[in-house]
Symmetry: D2
Amino acid sequence: MFYRKIINDPVYGFITIDDPLVYKIISHPYYQRLRRIHQMAMAQLVYPGAVHTRLHHSLGAYHLMCNAINELKNKGFPITDAEEQGARIAILLHDIGHGPYSHALEHSLVPQLSHEEISLMMMKKMNEELGGQLQMAIDIFTDVYPKKFLHQLVSGQLDVDRMDYLTRDSFFSGVNEGVIGYDRIIKMLTIHNGELMIEEKGIYSIEKFLVSRRLMYWQVYHHKTVLCSEKMLINIIERARQVKAQSLSETLNKFLHGSFKPDEFDEFISAFCNLDDYDILGAIKHWSAHPDAVLSILCKGIINRHLLKVKYFSRQIPEGLLLRIRNEAAAKLNIPFEETNSLVFSGEIENRTYNTTDEHIYILFKDGSVKDISKVDNALINQTLFGTVKKFYLCFPEIDN
Amino acid sequence: MFYRKIINDPVYGFITIDDPLVYKIISHPYYQRLRRIHQMAMAQLVYPGAVHTRLHHSLGAYHLMCNAINELKNKGFPITDAEEQGARIAILLHDIGHGPYSHALEHSLVPQLSHEEISLMMMKKMNEELGGQLQMAIDIFTDVYPKKFLHQLVSGQLDVDRMDYLTRDSFFSGVNEGVIGYDRIIKMLTIHNGELMIEEKGIYSIEKFLVSRRLMYWQVYHHKTVLCSEKMLINIIERARQVKAQSLSETLNKFLHGSFKPDEFDEFISAFCNLDDYDILGAIKHWSAHPDAVLSILCKGIINRHLLKVKYFSRQIPEGLLLRIRNEAAAKLNIPFEETNSLVFSGEIENRTYNTTDEHIYILFKDGSVKDISKVDNALINQTLFGTVKKFYLCFPEIDN
Amino acid sequence: MFYRKIINDPVYGFITIDDPLVYKIISHPYYQRLRRIHQMAMAQLVYPGAVHTRLHHSLGAYHLMCNAINELKNKGFPITDAEEQGARIAILLHDIGHGPYSHALEHSLVPQLSHEEISLMMMKKMNEELGGQLQMAIDIFTDVYPKKFLHQLVSGQLDVDRMDYLTRDSFFSGVNEGVIGYDRIIKMLTIHNGELMIEEKGIYSIEKFLVSRRLMYWQVYHHKTVLCSEKMLINIIERARQVKAQSLSETLNKFLHGSFKPDEFDEFISAFCNLDDYDILGAIKHWSAHPDAVLSILCKGIINRHLLKVKYFSRQIPEGLLLRIRNEAAAKLNIPFEETNSLVFSGEIENRTYNTTDEHIYILFKDGSVKDISKVDNALINQTLFGTVKKFYLCFPEIDN
Amino acid sequence: MFYRKIINDPVYGFITIDDPLVYKIISHPYYQRLRRIHQMAMAQLVYPGAVHTRLHHSLGAYHLMCNAINELKNKGFPITDAEEQGARIAILLHDIGHGPYSHALEHSLVPQLSHEEISLMMMKKMNEELGGQLQMAIDIFTDVYPKKFLHQLVSGQLDVDRMDYLTRDSFFSGVNEGVIGYDRIIKMLTIHNGELMIEEKGIYSIEKFLVSRRLMYWQVYHHKTVLCSEKMLINIIERARQVKAQSLSETLNKFLHGSFKPDEFDEFISAFCNLDDYDILGAIKHWSAHPDAVLSILCKGIINRHLLKVKYFSRQIPEGLLLRIRNEAAAKLNIPFEETNSLVFSGEIENRTYNTTDEHIYILFKDGSVKDISKVDNALINQTLFGTVKKFYLCFPEIDN
């Protein structure tokens, strides 16, 4: 017999699991693996509280999905039990395909696949095991299910994924300025022409939501020290490949130095599901004593939080500056010039507060008219915010003379 | 012997009073009167938690002033004990001149004086009683003291008054989207050329602060029901004057139907300090049974929260519409057409997110350069937000047929 | 057509009103009157944030009732829609009969009736107006409805009234040590033999609840300054009667100096519903200038927060001490000795952490056995806490020589 | 030049580091290692938010120490700058000697040394490196410094260690009933005869603190699932030793299968500082595929959160029951009976709410008298709570037939 499970959550109080299928999914090793993947990768080096996991985020997004669906049903929009279960499971599993250190290493360890593609592969695998019970969830996740708003709740400008990660990341990092009114936004959700929209009264909450997101990006996710340590992580993987450094984990070595054949689908999934932050950090600890100077400098840097210096520029970093610093580093650290590119490097990051090209936030007015949030009277979110904001970074070792 | 006083505050935890002079001021009847003036006037008719008082807000602003000064001193900016005491007292007393229902009735009861002018009159009076001990506070309040940043902490774009009222009003109303990062803003304060500025790292916090303010204005302070009930309050005072309605309070009657001669300064102050929300609400209860239909309709409306209907328009309300509704109201309520203007009325309200004409928020960059917040790269606060946002309202009685 | 109403509450986030009958009750002048009655009487003189109203508390208790019933229904206990509505309305109206300053003046203004009795009178009156729609609520309120647990949710050791007032009072006063785990307690509620009980896992939450209550009583409700100011309030009413002081409110004068005949039920209710904190405080302001020295001292004391001194003793205060202080006060204040009993007085207060004589908190164990919370293994709540804790207070004017 | 560092903390807002020596200590690899040690070991398997680290707890305790010392100085107790720095550093380093999974494996990995002893060894080592600058901290930590209250702030019934871990653990686990009034307790601290005491007004806060601790012990730290998983962890280490299982980490192997000679102090410290949760979890992942059935069952159990079943009993578990279950497990899992003791086992845990034998919480009354908290009038903490509460647990594999 199944009893309801109640999970304490510092963010929402209690998360209730009242569906045996959901409970079965949560108990699955694939899902439990998310306990070993940090939600915010290296952000904890700046925000020591930001050590929460992908598992926690998924549970939180699941909780908000329950609330959102409940709210929409109360407003009279028809949603069947099967659809409700499908949407709940889709969000529960939306991040199941994240690998170690999530976004930070997303294109390093498995260059050819995005985490969404892997999520889908894993969902299909679980669906087989569970006799097809996840089909609705998969249809919603892949946006082939006719009721489009269900997919939009999972992935879209107003999805519960964003609502949870902004809320949870600001909670655990202690950046309480990132707080959004998730409960109010959920109360303002509505459906019009099959699409998710916001009631007129919710305009200011949405503005606040977009501004909080902007703040979280620049103050937390793209904090220069966070960015620098995540770039170091990427360089470690790259350098380990170059010098053929072996980690202690056979699984990780396969991803570093081997490859999977197209027909080794099961082997790939099985190996991938065996991989988490612990393999990477274990390797980094191990390589701290690696004979390759560059690799060991980077690894010790992460372990002892002795990071590279980093600066932001508003313009492209001149090639000459980069060369000069690389020369200094080569001399100072006694490594060949060509190897300094793992320790002295530049690049650009960008973020958009609101992007009208791919997706919209629609406001439904009392008179039945619909407007994009950027087109309402006196909009805060306007032309200026559409453009991509770019910053240029330069990372380099501290060189004391 | 003086013992430190600790006051529990749900917003900041504890407020500490460690200065006998400050304690003496708090104990003064002028200050205690602020217990009987609601910080948010009629907002409680929409937000039932918003019943906090001017006294509480003043104490909170005092607390933030202590923190701000402490932070600036820790950064090495010289501030003497006398200046610190002056700034603390100036903020403690900055609202002492608010009358019943604060802003809502500010220009109704004492048309010729702003609350700041009355604050100054009362500060001067207290200064006499206290043998000149408030002189520094008065100099800071009136911006004649040379260290300009002290005045800016009391009154300016970044003053602790705003920081407290946004924080406190969002806390008590439960509109937690209005929350600002007051503690982070205070940590980012700096002084440059004698003026209060914000360190570069604080840009996003300031953007958030301005957006929160915008949200609080439109969602709370100018919430249509709040606006309507505060206009009803004004109309009650006006109508009471027209029909010479007597309240039960002699003091209030003097403000309603009498006047003070220019040389009756002491009488004015003494009468004013005897006036608070209780006189007004007492009068409204009394006038609920007044023979004048208009007055009694308005008064019963406030007491029983049976308010006028209100609608917002983005354009001026056509005179014709107004006339039509006034005619309907006259017929329905059986009152002469000319008296309906207290029950059917329109007007406009406005708010600016950031106003560059009168004051600036300056960002001090690491390289020593200074920019207005609206001029930094990728500014959220830009041209669009400078303009005044206007809305037009129409209030009228519910007329069921 | 009825739309759901959403009310912002700083304590619970949002309170939802989704029943037109409930909305009608909230809109009734009887209910709106609760806006003008402070939940915590004079506690705001010590805790400036504690200015919330009876209306807010009732709404909060209503919200918890909705949650509690929902939880019990989810656990499979049958509760009909009519019962649910009845329980919700019963808690909404449980405090409707509170007069000005609630408990503080409960036995002063209407000596012969408790607030529960008046609540019932008013509920009956409203029931008539509403064509009998409140009958179920009245049956639950008066404990004649067969499903006993419904009454216990309204009034009992585990009722939502207590859960809300402890939560709300600690929230607004800023005494966050009074916080209880109301959401966890509600999740632990169960029904056994028709009675409300707590699941085994909830024992520690209940212990914490009782200890928080104990703390709130001694630290807040019976804080010596709060107690003293509430005794002053009582003495003001008493003294006003003795010296036949007229207030400005005719209604209040009726309660002070007149009386209602047994058959004047409607007149009594109508007058009572016209009475609130504003009448009392208005009178106190008025009497601050009353020729009777004792009355004016007490009234000015409240208005200017210039309170009597108060001390707690663990033993009865010796008559001799009292006499000596009364003599000193008489001399110092120049009033006859016999009149000093309003300014120098003693008494006792008591509180019990857990009282087994009248009611029990039962724990339902997994094996089906039931134990009183004080009888479980290693109980925190034991013999020592059954006895009544008494303290003796002495209030007297500050006499500086 | 040293700039103040500000660290975001979701619990306290901001933690300020304003001392270059403190910053140097925080930057030391010994201290950074604490990032990789979970504060609450396996509690995250029940409370998914409880993933915070020892580093975060140490920083939090440091913050409270700053506040406590500041409060005591404001009350006029003389504390020199050197003493203040010493106390701050002592608390910062008090947990530096914790090994992987802190308390859970404290006596498994290094059986002969407590974490306090290792902390002291590491502090001495750092003191050498830092030219003796930690001597005062060491003297306070080892309680040889004459001002006894400084040590009591680091380690005692009222130390900031407890205040932080109760606050932080309840925050991250979401068990908000464990919340204590740390800020109020700190405000109530005083010194009498050189010892740390609590002012009379703080009695209820201390009661609340002890009851919260009791709740946290039974509801969180000794939650049966948490206990079970931590016992599994111990059994994994033990079993790994028995079957000589090699982990991938050379350092860990040394602790598992080797030993340090008495004169290998530096080698021991250096190896110990290389060890953290990542080595243990890495080993557990590796051993999930170990040929030894017992070891692999335990390891897979932890990785996939497929834990042993656990039950609490109030009495010693009968030997016969244990034997019967071991026999069943042997048959079912096809392992020899004698090896089942890692999978079927019992034991006892205990906790005391207040222990008068080793240490006291003293209340200083206004009249100068001192009483133990358990001896004050109407004490909540009394005889019943002195005794040790024991519970007996039984863990065993789920055997579905």
